[in-house]
């Protein structure tokens, strides 16, 4: 659509110094330049290098964010938003320097509208705290990416996780946002109405934009009543394919599973070792059903019958909270168990998502690649959506090991794209996956994204070097 413009010139130290002076004048003690704090805010959980901002602003309100963005805009200095630091693709890094805006102090729950099943919160609220605060009212927010991420971060990476098969992703559960745009203006993307056809969907434009188009300072979320009954099931299968076929049949038959997770035999073995469990060391599905007492029993029975058809079982079921928690222990421990498989190595999570009809093929081919390369990489999948992670154990100090890991990851993405899938189901693009954007979207669609970025952030100050390059 348009020729790629050059990236902006690297910001020189003078601009940054002037911006920091203005920030101090306006925001005083909320501006921090201490190296340890700056490094902590560029914490990346993977192989990506730590690239700290020049200063961190501890924002306490939307006005602080507007002030900081306006000052940075005036000096052409980058702005990187920070929530809880749990992102996985370098979203919080500052490759061009600039100012990190820490939103963790903006953690107020502003309203819970129980009749409307929604709430209004600041972006620094974390999902665990939100659910603690909602519990007394019989409500919950279902999106669970595993980490105790901030809701602002979850909005910005379009997060999802284990519950998405039933409740959707962040895209489906945000009603409205307040966003500080690149010029420091504050906009509201939608009303609290459950649906609207009034113009362009600004809410969905900022969900998943990773802070490259604006900074989210208020979020209106859909809520759900805590189910009357919750039932869990664990069911081993003779093969990945059998497990995936059972998942497809389960979804097709309309059983409204709330979670349906796959652990491959490597992961099950790791969990057995980690927590002294005695699960059958074969591909295993972990399920959760939400509904009425009768409803969850019926769902569990119907799933059991489907599992049997595909050679799965015996399934173990429970509706009691403690037993359920024990039943799911292996799933909850998966990450920590994987870490023990290769002490000293770091876990790098991959994140492809494919049409569910191709899931078994994609997982099996990936496992063959893991074996052929001699990698340690158990597999955990949100298989109801066709999304799975390999928890790839990498010795970051060993260049050969890292190179092998990158080769493997590149091939995994190519495989997923060839199967009609995406390079990221829920972790986002950040820095780590920009190289796959053209292959996934095509140059013309990527140009539409660049055109939007240029139009809404003409100075390229909002989290530059992420998602799309200009």
């Amino acid at each position: 659509m348009l020729a790629a413009a050059a990236n902006p010139a690297p910001r020189d130290g003078e601009q940054v110094a002037l911006a920091i002076a203005d920030l101090r004048a306006a925001l005083d003690h909320k501006v921090v330049t201490n190296a340890a704090i700056r490094e902590q805010h560029a914490n990346v959980t993977t192989y990506l290098p730590n690239e700290p901002a020049d200063a961190v602003v501890m924002a306490e309100c939307t006005q602080d964010v507007q002030t900081a963005v306006r000052i940075c805009a005036a000096h052409g200095v980058p702005v990187v938003a920070w929530g809880a630091g749990t992102s996985l693709e370098g979203q919080v890094n500052a490759p061009h320097g600039g100012v990190c805006i820490d939103l963790s102090r903006m953690n107020r729950i502003l309203a819970v509208n129980s009749a409307d099943l929604d709430c209004v919160i600041e972006p620094g609220v974390t999902r665990k705290r939100l659910n603690e605060e909602l519990r007394d009212q019989g409500l919950f927010f279902p999106i669970d990416p595993g980490a105790d991420a901030s809701l602002g971060g979850m909005v910005s990476t379009r997060a999802s996780g284990t519950n998405a098969v039933r409740y959707g992703t962040m895209k489906d559960n945000v009603l409205s946002l307040k966003v500080v745009t690149a010029d420091g203006n504050l906009i509201t993307t939608a009303t609290r109405a459950r649906k609207s056809s009034a113009g362009y969907d600004l809410t969905r434009l900022f969900v998943g934009a990773e802070g490259t188009l604006g900074i989210v300072t208020e979020i209106t979320l859909k809520l759900y009543g805590i189910p009357e009954a919750i039932s869990s099931a664990v069911c081993p299968f003779p093969s990945i394919t059998a497990a995936c076929d059972a998942v497809i049949a389960t979804i097709q038959s309309g059983i409204p599973v709330a979670r349906i997770e796959l652990l491959d035999e490597v992961q099950v073995k790791a969990c057995n070792a980690y927590a002294k469990l005695s699960l059958a060391e074969s591909p295993t599905l972990f399920l959760e059903f939400h509904g009425t007492d009768a409803g969850v029993e019926e769902q569990a029975q119907r799933f059991g019958a489907i599992a049997e058809e595909f050679g799965g079982g015996p399934s173990v079921f429970s509706t009691r909270p403690e037993e359920r928690s024990k039943l799911w222990q292996a799933r909850h421990d998966a990450y920590w168990a994987a870490l023990l498989l290769r002490p000293g190595a770091k876990a790098v999570a991959t994140d492809v998502c494919v049409p569910i009809s191709r899931l078994a093929d994609c997982v099996e081919e990936t496992k063959a690649d893991i074996d052929a390369m001699g990698l340690v990489a158990p597999i955990v999948g949100h298989v109801g959506d066709g999304n799975f992670h390999t928890v790839l154990m990498v010795d970051m100090a060993d260049a050969t090991d890292l190179a092998k890991a990158k080769q493997f990851m590149g091939r995994l993405v190519e495989r997923a794209l060839a199967m009609g899938g995406t390079c990221t189901g829920e972790h986002g693009i950040g820095q780590g996956k920009m190289k796959y954007m053209a292959a996934e979207h095509g140059e013309e669609a990527l140009d539409v994204m660049r055109t939007i970025k240029r139009a809404l952030d003409p100075g390229n100050i909002m989290n530059p070097g992420k998602v799309v390059t200009l």
Copy 2:
């Protein structure tokens, strides 16, 4: 964000004539300039004047659309997409003249992927035909706006309807689009994966854009298994407030109602007269439950108990297809029954949507306004989402009557906005509701929409004069 730019100069006849000559050279007999055909393609169902395009292109494939858009772009001539002509806010009008692209011949179902519960179709497929074609495979597409709209049109207005309370709107049910952009390029907005965090959500950018950013030429939709059992219920209530309170309690309790519709007593009375029914002439809820045999029975029972708490009942239930259809007859007939209330008048449908906690207030205040103004305007609502329509009977030949109707509609929108709602739940902005955009979104957010429009359609040729003015 940016100062409003002037609208483009009206296209002169010469530009249009040159474009039509080029179109004829490239597309031959697919180009029609006959006045009757042009008028039919600018058919508006309301008080808006008919504003025909200068030519209609009967597109047969994506390439035709690209050719037409490129020619129009070269001459700076407007392009208006047309699907089935069922839109309600002047979306298909051509106020600046130009070329209408009729997509109704692009009506192939390209793939049904039953394992993935999705299908790929052309935009001219209508929803009834899609469901006829899917039935044999045990699948259905749930979005039902009432009219037999084209799926391209439903994408473009972000349509929803009676099933949205359970299955969401078009926003939630489109996986991917192929779109011809304003320069004639063809982009694919996403893969067939169920979820992705790979960059900006281009799919949701074009859903609801009403052809102002590009023309949809292929659609990948989510599908669902036809429920094992469907149960219907009809339940009268002593008041609008009692009915709305029962709806809130039903939703809060987690009963996964598939449809929950309100008819006010005026509408029920009209339906009784139209179809010789003998329903109690009070506010009435029409419900549908989807699930297993046991599941729908349980849902119906639980709803019955809630209804009783709010003074509703007796409820009538049925699971047999013919009985269900009879039970819902009043709801199905609502529009035709309303027409008989004032013979010779035209029906204008309003479309506000408010947070459900404000629904009873909004409906009651609106009814009071109807009574005070002496209007004929029965009410039908998708109340599970807080969305309701008044079917306002207007004598288009009577200027006073039309002025009164416009006054009423303006106040209705103001009321909905004051309650945190939207001016349109599902009909879109078109020409009719542009005047409310600033009040609903605020100037800054509207400027973000304008900036996007300008960036993606710098020549302002895509359906100009709709959604946002530049």
